[in-house]
């Protein structure tokens, strides 16, 4: 988008003759001051004026700045898509401010109308700039280089000397030296003066255009992805099988164009989950879920899912996002009827010790109230008798223990309202409490280890801790645009590199004769953007034409530049 460029190295406002009528200036009007509105003009003129403003470099720059600024609230306020729990907490902490922030979209900045407005305007501006610019570039690619200006005096990089080489030979030599350039040769009317216009590095502009178009492609690919993707989360306990259908997911969301029938019906059984921890630091070292995938055609395949190594199957990717323990318990009612039996996933609260929290809901009691057990699971439990608390000291299941509060009443499951499986709705329930050692009323806790059966208080029933399987939390995602997103991103990177590092140069060489019949060479070079090698390039081109005196100059210069490597070698030798 850097149209309206001026050859770098020029004193401000001091353009050399621009005989090529480079039209890029008009595609990004860089008026010195924003033009006042076209007073007295009709709506069409206004539209044109608005369009010119929008596609101007100055507005593009302001939009870029604005984009940086409007992205920042996303880090000041909790964002719902990233962390809904912290948004809820923010509502509790700032009850009066939160609704205001909500209305302005500050809890979901990157989907807010104002953020979208900024980037859409920016992309509109980009397209408005880059399309005409691409057309210009295509034209330029078909045209020979522009004719040389009549005088070179205003170019900062130029040279002039009398050459010992004969005129025609000099033209041939210069043409050879300009190999790799596109060339336009102009012979003067009398045949005495020949001018070579040469240009190279069109890839610089091509790269610039590719970069900007790739960004547009990227935006379209990302946008399309949000329409056709799906994402689901599921918890699978060791030994259980997950079948890929929407009802099996614990949570599922998809883009509006996603076809539910499009879910590929593969199945996946979690055979085993293993974890490893660093013995010294206790830090997690490895998580590994071994699964058996059954393709729709019945083909079975053992696979391993690890962090950083998702499983690609059925068009979707399966990521290992979490894990934990799912104590397998059986709870009976007062008469010994089984009210609930099975593994219950507990959510890890502390990643270092795997202190986990969870609830066991027992809806199917034959007699008495429904039972709810809520509490913690500790993989390596240590009970502190003094404070009557228990905690875990290691994520490994060395001394597993369940510590549960007991509730009875109505679990509220029959209303048909979806419930959080990790929370007990205690609205219609009562906790079993009893006077503690200090005489104060305290909740009664049930403590149960694997293999044990413990009576629940108040004769409510029993709980048996059968087994301790692990569970994994899996994320399944499908987004067919991923390869496109990557392609456009890499194209942008390539285009950007070309536009920044490939030099675009024009070299003009005019070869004529003075009254004495000597060959006179005048030359100039011009670059787009910053080009530290421009002077060197002109020197290189003119080198074969230089007079003998110039040769000694050249030698001296070689000596000078030659010194640097020598010195570096010396230093290198000393260092070695």
């Amino acid at each position: 988008m850097s149209a309206g460029y001026r050859p770098e190295g020029l004193v401000s406002g001091d353009d050399p003759e621009r005989p090529d009528g480079d039209s890029t200036d008009t595609t990004r009007p860089t008026a010195q001051a924003p033009a006042p509105g076209p007073v007295g003009f009709g709506p069409v003129a206004w539209l044109r004026w608005t369009w010119r403003q929008l596609t101007s470099m100055r507005v593009a720059l302001l939009l870029l700045l604005l984009l940086a600024v409007v992205a920042l609230p996303g880090t000041f306020f909790p964002q719902r898509p990233q962390d809904p729990a912290r948004v809820a907490q923010y509502y509790l902490d700032n009850p009066s401010l939160a609704p205001v922030l909500e209305r302005w979209g500050l809890f979901d900045v990157f989907a807010s109308p104002w953020f979208s407005a900024v980037y859409l305007l920016l992309f509109l501006s980009l397209v408005g700039c880059i399309v005409p610019r691409s057309l210009d570039h295509i034209k330029a690619l078909r045209r020979p280089p522009p004719a040389a200006p009549s005088r070179f005096t205003r170019f900062p990089v130029r040279d002039a000397f009398a050459s010992p080489v004969a005129r025609d030979e000099a033209v041939a030599t210069a043409t050879t030296a300009l190999k790799g350039y596109r060339l336009r040769r102009t012979d003067g009317a009398d045949g005495a003066v020949t001018t070579l216009s040469a240009e190279r590095g069109y890839t610089r502009e091509s790269g610039n255009i590719v970069f900007h178009l790739a960004l547009v492609g990227l935006l379209i690919a990302v946008g399309y992805g949000t329409f056709v993707h799906y994402r689901g989360q599921v918890i699978v306990v060791e030994g259980d099988t997950f079948a890929n259908s929407q009802v099996q997911y614990d949570s599922f969301e998809s883009g509006p164009w996603f076809d539910e029938g499009g879910l590929e019906p593969f199945r996946m059984r979690l055979d085993r989950f293993t974890s490893a921890f660093d013995e010294v630091s206790g830090q997690a070292a490895d998580f590994r879920a071994e699964v058996t995938v059954t393709e729709p055609d019945g083909d079975e395949q053992p696979e391993t899912i690890r962090v950083n190594h998702p499983l690609r199957t059925g068009g979707a990717s399966v990521y290992l996002m979490g894990n934990g323990f799912a104590p397998d318990v059986t709870v009976t009612d007062a008469e010994g009827n089984v009210g609930f039996s099975g593994p219950v996933p507990f959510v890890i609260v502390d990643q270092a010790t795997y202190d986990s929290r969870g609830v066991i809901k027992v809806p199917d009691t034959q007699v008495g109230d429904q039972i709810g057990l809520s509490g913690v699971f500790l993989p390596t439990a240590v009970v502190d008798p003094a404070s009557d608390t228990a905690f875990s000291i290691s994520p490994e299941p060395n001394e597993p223990l369940l510590v549960l509060d007991v509730w009875y009443g109505n679990l509220g499951l029959d209303d048909g309202v979806p419930q959080n499986v990790y929370q007990l709705d205690t609205q219609a329930m009562q906790q079993v409490r009893a006077p503690g050692p200090d005489g104060e009323d305290a909740p009664v806790r049930v403590v149960v280890a694997p293999g044990q059966t413990v009576d629940l208080p108040d004769g409510l029933g029993t709980i048996t801790f059968n087994d301790l399987p692990r569970y994994v939390g899996l994320d399944l995602r499908y987004d067919p645009t991923l390869p496109w997103v990557l392609t456009f991103a890499l194209l942008a990177l390539a285009g950007l590199s070309a536009s920044l590092f490939l030099p675009r140069r024009r070299v003009f060489v005019r070869i004529g004769q003075d009254e004495g019949g000597r060959t006179v060479v005048t030359a100039a070079a011009l670059a787009r953007g910053d080009d530290p090698g421009l002077e060197r390039e002109l020197t290189r081109v003119l080198e074969p034409l230089r007079p003998a005196v110039g040769k000694t100059d050249q030698d001296r210069m070689n000596q000078e530049t030659g010194q640097a490597p020598d010195r570096q070698q010396d230093e290198g030798a000393r260092r070695g």
Binding site: A3, Q32, L67, A71, L72, R231, N308, L486, L493
Partner: protein, 320 residues
């Protein structure tokens, strides 16, 4: 392993000492620069001045250095600064390498290590430019930056070398993080140059260009130098975003999720994009563009120190 970690620590501390000496030596050189200024100005700049002073149509040789310009006098303090600086970099590199062996992985997986690697890259960029042209005036600032960054790393960010958690066990740790830390080092050098350019511009604007500032290259030269470094940095940062997105897709199941770190990395990218555009917008080039370069590096510092240490982010691997 513990011994290696200890050796690494000694090397880093020794490097700090060398950086301290380099800072002082460069500062002495810097303060002396003004005394015989005319011979310090870059020779090509001299040549250009001659050109503009010459008769307009006379054949002039602009492309070549003025051969009989007086040789610059010996700058002993700068020479000392440069050699101690080189020693500091070598010791720091050794410190980083031993740290890698001590931890049994690449030595850039927590904030202490990011900092040491960034300092290495910034130092190497400085020495690399120094090979091609005289930028010893930057020495004071680069070694001071190195010193402060390393001090902060040792005093606040230090952690013992350990293996990394599963989320970091990926070859993208090698690529993505290496480029990100390198990008920080590159941008640091560019921001230093831009800062000097701004200081100089301001002094010229007030007409009170002091001895030291007047001994620096012209604002235009500083601007071009900063741009060349920033251009490299911008390409690196673009790659950081792309490689980060690829890694995020592998590790977290999505390539972009507006995590705090992602937001700031995006902001940094946009600020440097604005910098590149400002350079070619009339009325914004030069001084205003330099502010973007400085603002970009400020965002990098925020992204590094504030987001890593104080913001709840998925990138909380600082290990502090």
């Amino acid at each position: 392993m513990a011994e290696l970690g200890q050796i690494s620590l000694y090397l880093v501390t020794a490097a700090m000492t060398a950086y301290l000496i380099a800072t002082i030596a460069f500062a002495i050189d810097f303060s002396r620069l003004a005394a015989d200024r005319p011979s310090r100005v870059s020779r090509t700049a001299d040549a250009r001045e001659l050109v503009s002073a010459g008769v307009a149509d006379a054949p002039v040789v602009a492309a070549r250095p003025v051969a009989d310009a007086p040789l610059p006098p010996v700058r002993r303090a700068a020479a000392i600064g440069q050699s101690t600086f080189t020693v500091a970099v070598l010791m720091l590199v050794a410190g980083v390498v031993t740290r890698g062996f001590a931890a049994g992985r690449v030595p850039w997986a927590n904030m202490y290590e990011f900092t040491t690697v960034s300092v290495v890259v910034a130092s190497v960029v400085f020495l690399g430019i120094q090979r091609r042209r005289d930028v010893r005036f930057l020495g004071t600032f680069i070694s001071l930056f190195a010193l402060l960054a390393l001090f902060l790393a040792l005093a606040v960010l230090y952690t013992d070398p350990t293996a990394v958690q599963p989320a970091l066990q990926s070859y993208w740790l090698v690529i993505h993080v290496a480029i990100a830390t390198s990008g920080m080092g590159v941008f640091a050098v560019a921001a230093t140059v831009s800062g000097l350019q701004l200081a100089k511009d301001r002094a010229i604007g007030r007409g009170t260009q002091g001895r030291i500032l007047s001994s620096l290259p012209t604002s235009a030269d500083l601007e071009r130098l900063a741009f060349r470094i920033n251009a490299v940095g911008f390409v690196l940062w673009t790659f950081v975003l792309i490689s980060g997105a690829i890694w995020a897709e592998h590790a977290w199941g999505r390539y972009w999720g507006w995590d705090a770190k992602e937001v700031w990395s995006f902001v940094i990218w946009v600020v440097y994009a604005a910098y590149l555009h400002a350079r070619s917008t009339r009325g914004w080039e030069g001084r205003r563009a330099a502010w973007f370069s400085v603002a970009g590096f400020a965002s990098i510092l925020i992204n590094y120190y504030v987001v890593n240490l104080f913001v709840n982010s998925l990138h909380s691997y600082s290990g502090v």
